[in-house]
Amino acid sequence: MNPPTDGRRQSPSWYESAARDRARLLLDAGTFAEFLGPEAREMSPHLGIFDLPRQFDDGIVVGRGKLAGTPVFVAAQEGRFMGGAFGEVHGAKLVGLLRAARDASRDGGTMPVLILFDTGGVRLQEANVGELAIGEVMRAVIEARRAGAKVIGLVGGRAGCYGGGGLIAGTCSALAVSEHGRIAVSGPEVIETNRGVEEFDSKDRSLVWRTMGGKHRRLLGGAELFVDDTIDAFRAAAIALIERAPAFDLAMLKAEQARLAERLKRFGSCADGLDVWKQAGVDDPAKVPGMPADEFIALAQHIGEGRHDAR
C-alpha cells in the first residue's frame, strides 16, 4: 500500500482486513468487547466428523461497542475460514446477538446491530443445521427490527454475501456495499453448474460484477449506499444508515412493495446490467465498471433510488 501523500492517515482496506480487525476498527477506539471470544473455544461439533480443521470462533466475531458514542452490537464474519459459511455455532452466535438487540430495544433503549457480511452461505458439511441457522437468523433480524432495532448490513469482503447470507441481507434495515461486495443468493458457479455456461459464465468476471457487484446493487436500489473500500468509509456509512433507516411498520412494507413493483416495471425486460444502468439514467453505462469510487458515488447520488424510504 502506498503511504498517504497529503498527511492524512490512510484508512485500512475493508477487503484486506480480518473480521476481528473490521469489527474493532469500525467502532470507536477501545470500545469493542467480544462475546464468546476464541478463548471460549465454542467450535463446530460437526467438522471433526469430516476430519476438517475447526476455528476457535467458528468464523464469526460477535460483540458490542460504541459507534460515534452510541452503543451498538456488531457481528463480523471471517470470509477466509470456510468461505465465511454459516454452521450451527456460527449461526447461533449471530442469533444470540440479534435476540439481545431485540430485548434491549424492547426494554426502551434501541440497540442497532451491524452485520459485517462475508459469506458464501450455508456450510454444506453442516447441512440442515446450517440451513436452520439461516432461517433462525432471518427470524431474529425481523424480531429485532419489530422491537425497534436498526439492523445494518455491510458488504465488502472476499466471499461477498451469497446463499443464505444474501437472504439475510434482504431482511436488514439497510445495506452499504463496496465495489468488492457482491450480493446474491445463487453464486456464479452455482448458476453455471445448474443452468449451463450459456446461461451464466462464472469465469466472466465483468458479467459477475455487473450482475451481483456493489455498483450494480446500488444502481438497482438493492443497497442504500455505495462506499469506497476503506474501514473509515464503512464506518461513516454505518453511522448514516442507523440514522436514516426506516422504522419497521406496515407503511414501510407497503412502500417497499410499491418500490419493488416499480423496479420490475422499469427493469423487468433488461437482459444485462448495462441495460439496467442505461434505463436507470446512466448516460454511458460502459464507463461504470472502471469508474473510481468517488465518481461513482456522485453518479449514484445524482441518479437517486432508495427514495421511497424502504428497503
Binding site: P53, R54, F56, E78
Partner: protein
C-alpha cells in the same frame, strides 16, 4: 485429525500483562494461534490440532526453535492448523507472542 502437545520450560516469563491474543485464520496453508497467559512460572505449552498427519517431528523442531527464540514463559499456545508450512507456523507463533506482549488491549 492429529493432536500434538509439547511442554517446555522457557528461559524467562513473557513480557506484558494481556491475558489473551489471537493471530491468523484457519485457511489453506494458514493457521490460527490462540495464546493465553495461564501457566505458572516459565512453563510453556503448545497444543496443535492438524488435519495433516505424520509431521510430528517437524512440529517438534519448529516449537523447540520457537521456545528458544521467543522465551514464551507462562503462555499456553493453541493451534488450529490448515496445513501451513513450517515457516508460516514460525511466523504466526512469533506474531502471537509479540501481540500478547503489547501494552493495552
Amino acid at each position: 485429525m492429529e493432536t500434538l502437545s509439547y511442554r517446555h520450560t522457557a528461559a524467562r516469563r513473557a513480557a506484558g500483562a494481556r491475558p489473551m491474543a489471537i493471530v491468523g485464520v484457519v485457511a489453506s496453508g494458514n493457521l490460527e494461534v490462540l495464546v493465553e497467559r495461564v501457566l505458572p512460572g516459565s512453563d510453556c505449552q503448545v497444543e496443535i490440532s492438524t488435519p495433516v498427519t505424520g509431521f510430528a517431528k517437524v512440529w517438534e523442531a519448529v516449537i523447540t526453535d520457537f521456545v528458544e527464540r521467543r522465551s514464551p514463559g507462562g503462555l499456553r499456545l493453541s493451534i488450529n492448523d490448515g496445513g501451513a508450512r513450517a515457516d508460516t507456523v514460525s511466523l504466526r507463533l512469533a506474531q502471537a507472542v509479540r501481540l500478547i506482549e503489547e501494552d493495552g488491549r
